[in-house]
């Protein structure tokens, strides 16, 4: 067995008064893909930051090639070839893609940076990732998935010997994930060790050699992946078996009233002439490849983007010019961009939770007691795990931020919930809770629009599925027709409207 390239002995970590890691032992061999799994808040990201030198450990040691290395900032570890792709984007938004990819180790010619060389190399790396962003675009203008690809490009453009990826696929779709896996296999063949964190256990099964499970900051097990089924991994993570991940579908009766109808909605440059209807008790899935324009369609509908078309609520046209109008119409929106549009990372949980629904918390003065009560309730309802209720939201684990975001949206008690990638970065156990939550929500005579890039999620939950391609609705599937191959056919243009009608050819 090869010598471990990176190892940790008894690593522990304390934030303020709370301990989040307890004596973790870990080792990583060259050429292996080592998955790290655990519930939200288990301490995975924290542990990875310690391995990569971004955070100092409170106790224990980290060794590289058998030698103990003190933590002296990320630069030192990176020089040893240890590169971390953060769960939360770690890009300077005002800089261009190319500037970000080479930040801190620019190529130079004489005293000047060699822009053409960097642009070319950046282009090459992005091409390798099948990513089509322009190296000269500002990161601020990119979609979340593109940002993630840029993060990956940034990492692999370095001299990497250990690549730590913290939920790289949370914001990627199937195709992009496939590209990433191809890349991982290539790196693996070159002897690079990969640490792979994901809540998508099928991916873990597919790509990794060994898996380490953390729970509540403690090491539970490290085992070869071949020895474990997905269920077994889930059980190790959660401490109990996960059954019936998806609730049994309960489609609304065919004569259920239409709560929301959209007719001929267009968003310039993104969506053209989209129409659909949502009935009481229904979960309506939206499927499509990245860039299909699902997010833009919803944002157009909600008044967050300029759009044309008609929106009918309970059969009556309602003008929705701003999110406030949408809120008044009983529509709640869960954004896919948690960090950029969803949460104020420097503020507390309470302030974030009630921000959207603030008019409901008191009249002239905000009723803080009511807010606190709402937070206490949300923490229970959505299983938000924060070890300290007063930390800024930015210090919550990624999954718990996502749960808080869902809770925030629910504060307005919407009748219609538009959930864009609701389970992004959520562990299996909690996913199940969210699925059941959405199911129950619809069962109570409300309705859900579910946008998801995870095919099983759409198939497992939705009563009908609208498929979009390049800004155009290409089909609506129902009942038994909701299955992967059929969705893909519509999403890729094999079925449905001819592609020259599309707003954009993807």
């Amino acid at each position: 067995m090869a010598e471990p390239i990176l190892s940790a002995q008894g690593v522990s970590k304390v934030f303020g008064a709370v301990q989040v890691l307890f004596g973790i032992d870990f080792e990583l061999r060259p050429g292996e893909v080592h998955a790290v799994v655990g519930e939200n808040g288990a301490g995975k990201s924290t542990f990875m930051k310690i391995l990569a030198g971004y955070l100092p450990a409170t106790g224990g040691t980290v060794r590289v090639n058998g030698r103990e290395v003190p933590s002296e900032g990320p630069g030192a570890r990176e020089a040893l070839g240890i590169v971390l792709i953060h769960q939360e984007f770690n890009l300077a938004e005002d800089l261009t893609v190319e500037e970000n990819v080479f930040l801190g180790r620019e190529l130079r010619r004489g005293p000047f940076v060699d822009r053409s060389a960097m642009r070319a190399r950046c282009r090459a790396v992005l091409d390798e990732l099948n990513c089509h962003v322009n190296p000269a675009s500002r990161v601020r203008d990119l979609s979340v998935s593109d940002k993630q690809m840029v993060e990956i490009a940034k990492a692999i453009s370095r001299d990497v010997r250990v690549l730590v990826m913290d939920e790289p696929t949370a914001v990627l779709t199937g195709a992009e994930t496939a590209v990433l896996f191809r890349l991982i296999r290539k790196l693996k063949a070159q002897g690079v060790a990969v640490v792979y964190i994901s809540h998508k256990l099928d991916e873990v099964k597919e790509i990794s050699d060994r898996v380490t499970v953390l729970r509540d900051g403690r090491l539970i097990a490290t085992q070869p992946v071949g020895e474990l089924t997905q269920d077994a991994i889930a059980q190790l993570m959660v401490g109990r078996a996960i059954t019936d991940l998806y609730p049994v579908k309960a489609p609304p009766p065919p004569d259920a009233p239409v709560l929301l109808e959209v007719r001929g909605l267009s968003v310039l440059g993104w969506v053209r002439d989209a129409s659909f209807a949502l009935r009481r008790g229904e979960i309506l899935g939206f499927s499509g490849l990245v860039g299909a324009g699902r997010t833009e369609l919803m944002e157009g509908l909600l008044g967050l983007r300029r759009s044309t078309g008609t929106v009918l609520r309970n059969g009556r046209p309602v003008p929705i010019r701003s999110l406030e109008d949408a809120t008044a119409a009983g529509i709640g929106y869960l954004t896919e961009d948690r960090k950029g549009k969803g949460l104020l990372l420097r503020q507390g949980m309470r302030q974030n939770l009630t921000l959207l629904a603030l008019p409901r918390f008191g009249g002239v003065l905000i009723d803080e007691a009511k807010e606190r009560a709402a937070l206490d309730r949300a923490v229970v309802d959505f299983d938000i795990r924060a070890r300290d209720m007063d930390v800024p939201v930015g210090a919550l684990s990624g999954g718990n931020q996502q749960k808080l975001l869902l809770a925030k949206t629910m504060q307005i008690e919407p009748e219609i919930l538009i959930a864009d990638e609701p389970t992004r970065g959520i562990d299996v156990g909690t996913k199940r809770q969210i699925y059941h939550f959405l199911h129950d929500f619809a069962r109570q005579g409300k309705a859900v629009i579910l946008i998801s890039s995870e095919m099983p999620e759409v198939i497992g939950l939705a009563h009908r599925v609208v498929v979009m391609r390049s800004g155009v609705v290409t089909g609506t599937l129902e009942g038994a027709a909701i299955e992967e191959a059929e969705i893909v056919r519509y999403a890729t243009g094999l079925k449905g409207m001819p592609s020259h009608d599309a707003v954009v050819n993807a």
Binding site: S12, K341, L355, I366, V379, D388
Partner: protein, 339 residues
């Protein structure tokens, strides 16, 4: 803290509140203020006399009240450079109005009320104008208010014909007590300052508007996606700044009964400095009203201490002032950074 502490929050919903640790970011300004008071007392025992303290607090009131408005603007991620000029303009117009109305309204309370109303309305209108230019015109607040700073000051110079606008003597007599008088030995400007600070704190910490300001200053996009009307809130913040200027003018005019091109010169710098010294972040998203109050008082105290001691050389006053500001903030911040 140690390995032996066990995780407690595995039970969802309980959550643990941090120890109420001594937060230097919050208390730093107060400590620095205390240090300054000690320094002042050492410099000259007169410093602590009630008369002196009352003087200093009373004269802090103008910039202090303006700084409270600035706290909102800065918390919302903007800046207002026009406040000093606006104060001069509002004072000038208010004085002209009172002088012009006195033939009709006499020289009693009625005319003073009219003057105050004009000052307040004008200030609020000007603040709203700034806000609309920033939000609807999509111009940086810095540029907008740099421009209106020039405009307002120029207008008052014009109105005063380059000289001084003076309140007619009989009206002054009526109005004078608003600055020089008081209740229970506390001067009205101090009372006004305290009231504005109190209301300001309530608004910033306890109302939706205050929360929205902080949200916009933190991340405008998130604010927009939280169905906050960003433009309206920002405009309101500028209007509130205008209101504060109006109130400041209301208690400024009775002091000397005049306004000129020099009135309120550099008050904007003083107000912004008070806000930042108080711990509000210049980049927005985090505002502290009580910090601002302390910041304003600190700035006034430094001046006062310099006047109470015969400094080495008058020429060096500015240097001592600058050094005290830096050291005071250094003390309060270095502690905070130590965590």
């Amino acid at each position: 803290m140690t390995q032996s502490s066990t995780p407690e929050s595995s039970q969802p919903g309980v959550g643990r509140r941090a120890l109420p640790s001594f937060d230097l970011k919050l208390y730093g300004p107060f400590l620095a203020l205390a240090a300054l008071v000690v320094l002042g007392t050492l410099a000259n025992p007169v410093f602590l006399s009630p008369g002196n303290i009352a003087n200093v607090l009373t004269r802090t009131a103008f910039t202090g009240i303006i700084a409270i408005g600035a706290t909102f603007v800065i918390t919302a991620g903007a800046i207002d450079l026009s406040v000093g000029s606006l104060a001069a303009l509002a004072a000038g117009v208010s004085i002209m109005t009172m002088n012009a109305l006195s033939p009709e309204l006499g020289t009693g309370v009625a005319v003073v009320v009219a003057g105050v109303l004009v000052a307040v309305l004008l200030s609020v209108a000007a603040g709203t104008f700034n806000g609309l230019l920033v939000t609807k015109g999509r111009i940086e607040a810095f540029i907008v208010t740099l421009g209106t700073m020039g405009i307002f000051r120029s207008l008052v110079t014009y109105l005063a014909d380059g000289g001084t606008l003076s309140l007619a003597s009989p009206i002054r007599t009526t109005y004078r007590p608003v600055y020089y008088g008081g209740l229970f030995g506390i001067s009205y400007p101090i009372i006004a300052f305290a009231a504005v600070a109190l209301v300001g704190a309530l608004i910033l910490y306890r109302t939706r508007f205050g929360r929205y300001c902080a949200a916009i200053g933190s991340n405008e996009e998130v604010a927009r996606y939280s169905s906050i009307r960003v433009d309206r809130i920002k405009t309101l913040a500028f209007a509130l700044q205008g209101l504060c200027v109006g109130i400041a003018v209301m208690i400024y005019v009775p002091r000397l009964g005049s306004a000129s091109a020099t009135t309120g010169l550099l008050w904007e710098l003083e107000a912004i400095a008070a806000v930042i010294i108080g711990g509000t972040m210049l980049k927005g998203g985090y505002g502290r009203i009580w910090g601002t109050v302390v910041g304003a008082v600190m700035l006034a105290l430094i001046d006062n201490i310099l006047n109470l001691t015969g400094a080495v050389s008058v020429y060096l006053n500015g240097a001592i002032q600058g050094t005290i500001i830096i050291v005071a903030v250094l003390l309060q911040r270095s502690g905070a950074a130590r965590r």
